[in-house]
Amino acid sequence: MLKTSLREAYAKALIELGEKDKDIVVLDADLSSSTQTAKFKARFPERFFNIGIAETTMVNVAAGLATTGKKPFVSTFAMFGTGRAWEALRQSVCYPNLPVKLVCTHGGITVGEDGATHQACEDLAITRALPNMTVIVPCDDIETEEVIKKIYKLKTPVYVRLTREKFPRVFGKDGLLKELFNIDYDYSFEIGKAYKLKEGKDINLITCGLTTSQALLAAKELEEEGISASVIHLPTIKPINKESLLKALDPSKIILTIEEHSIIGGLGDAVLHALSDQDFKIYKHGIKDEFTISGKAWELVKYFKLDKDGIKEKVKKILKK
């Protein structure tokens, strides 16, 4: 299992875009070595702006830059970029519908040791609530790179949630799909699209980010135990292409959404909303309505039952097996 860094993929894509488009500018709030935007700074110092620890102003400044034709990418930790700066995001970016790309690292519990203050588990809920906003949660480095290159062309605001921790690669010839199921998946990112990664008869697992790889691992083991789970990767939390999602779903009529985020307002609620007029039994799995804790990233993943064993347990409970 190859673990890959989403942050590094982001920096790689940024530099590639920076080479071909001089309107790309990058802003950070004193976390450029963590978010990896320092690599863009090293290559294009005149197009990088460190605003210091002032996230609200960073987002407002990005909005101003966007009005002059620049294409700003804004990065910091998910907690501060979406939380601290939320009102600037609403007033100066989403309401005027400016092409600011907020790409935050350190989303979710896999921030680890820093604890609840730094583990953004509400970021998808609060960005998804904003009109004009697109919200995307990639699952590996390959997808991250694709996402960055695709959203760069959008003339509207986008939030992309990345992570501190390296995640198993899902796509590509050395990804989990190939390793576990010998699937050569022909992947290219499209906004809103649902990706059926694995077929299954008993239950549909819908995932994004971290939980896509964990669900694939769980599905493999469940298979050996006689439970057939499909895995549907849904990287776009908003807007969801409903037709694409319905097409990806297997006929079991049971859905379990799994996310490294509060069960309030994230992937699960987005799916519930999209399928509210459909005949499905939908279960949500994620961080309960509580503050999280310090610990090593993968220990926390296990603690909050978002690893393959936690997912298997949840599936068996639903299917009463």
Partner: protein, 319 residues
């Protein structure tokens, strides 16, 4: 459409001004324009039965000067890339800005009759996608100034020494927002000489006097230590407004001058402790409700329009 005392008829100033060029108007003309703006503001807010007349009137002379004499802009092409930018960070003074944009012929003056009503392009606070001539959407205090900093950075990146200027009008109550000080920091840090903040210092906010609600003073000293060029003026005196902005103009254009010119300009700047490569802060002392005797320095007109009866009295004073 109801044609009562609140009705705003078409006004033609009969001025032939090329707003894209450097220009100078006489003070009498500016005063007449400002009077028209005040009348429109009062009628529009009374008609809408909501809005912020007090702070609109305190900003009227500043806005009149900026749009009619100082800023390079183009009503025929509102998105002209080389225009100077203006951000009304105190977005609640929108009626004054709308009146001025209308008088500059961005849209018909009679549109002001629809202020704040369903279907109008004139929202309660400025919306850059609905109203031609608005450079930034504002209204929630403390955000516009940061966007202005971003504009100044972006323009400098694109046009270097030929970068258009950015002027932000800030409320004094607004200066209580922490993000305003983040933006001050950023403008000074990036040596944004094409960036100017004008403080509409009427010293009144909704709950009372600014110095009593949450003191912001001494603003001049604070801004100086933040690294701004600073000057204090009477915000209703066109000569003083013109002079302060001419200093900003010199700072902003400094790199374009010949060595000879730079020497001459430095002499003028030094008199005011102004330095090149710095953003400018103009503290404009103003009077809330300026121009209507019974509204002046009355906090109650912050967010309350006149009754039709009071409007009649006010319009009498503005004849």
């Amino acid at each position: 459409m109801k044609k009562d005392i609140t009705y705003i008829d078409n006004v033609d100033l009969n001025l032939d001004i090329d707003f894209t060029k450097k220009r100078k108007l006489d003070n009498r003309t500016l005063e007449n324009i400002a009077k028209e703006v005040r009348k429109i503001v009062l009628k529009a807010t009374t008609r809408a039965k909501s809005g912020h007349p007090g702070g609109s009137l305190s900003a009227t002379d500043l806005l009149t000067y900026l749009y009619f004499e100082f800023l390079k802009h183009n009503p025929q092409n509102p998105k002209w890339a080389l225009r100077d930018r203006f951000v009304l960070s105190k977005g609640h003074a929108a009626p004054a800005l709308y009146a001025i944009l209308a008088l500059c012929k961005y849209f018909p003056v009679t549109d002001l009759n629809t202020l704040r009503q369903i279907g109008s392009h004139l929202q309660g606070h400025p919306d850059m996608n609905k109203t031609p001539g608005i450079d930034m959407t504002t209204g929630s205090l403390g955000h516009g100034i940061g966007a202005g900093v971003g504009m100044a950075l972006g323009l400098r990146l694109s046009y270097n020494v030929d970068a258009p200027k950015v002027v932000v009008l800030l409320g004094d109550g607004e200066a209580q927002e922490g993000s305003v000080w983040e933006a001050f920091n950023t403008a000074a840090h990036y040596n944004l000489s094409n960036f100017c903040v004008i403080l509409d210092n009427n010293n009144l906010q909704i709950d009372g006097r600014v110095d009593e609600i949450m003191n912001i003073y001494p603003m001049m000293e604070r801004l100086k230590t933040f690294g701004f060029n600073t000057i204090e003026i009477d915000g209703h005196n066109f000569d003083q407004v013109r002079y302060a902005l001419s200093l900003f103009d010199m700072v902003s254009n400094f790199e374009k001058y010949s060595l000879e010119e730079q020497k001459r300009v430095l002499n003028i700047l030094e008199k005011h402790n102004f330095k090149p490569y710095r953003p400018t802060f103009i503290l404009a002392k103003t009077i809330k409700g300026k121009g209507v005797s019974f509204m002046e320095n009355e906090v109650k007109y912050h967010g309350k329009p006149l009754t039709e009866e009071d409007l009649k009295r006010a319009l009498g004073e503005l004849k």
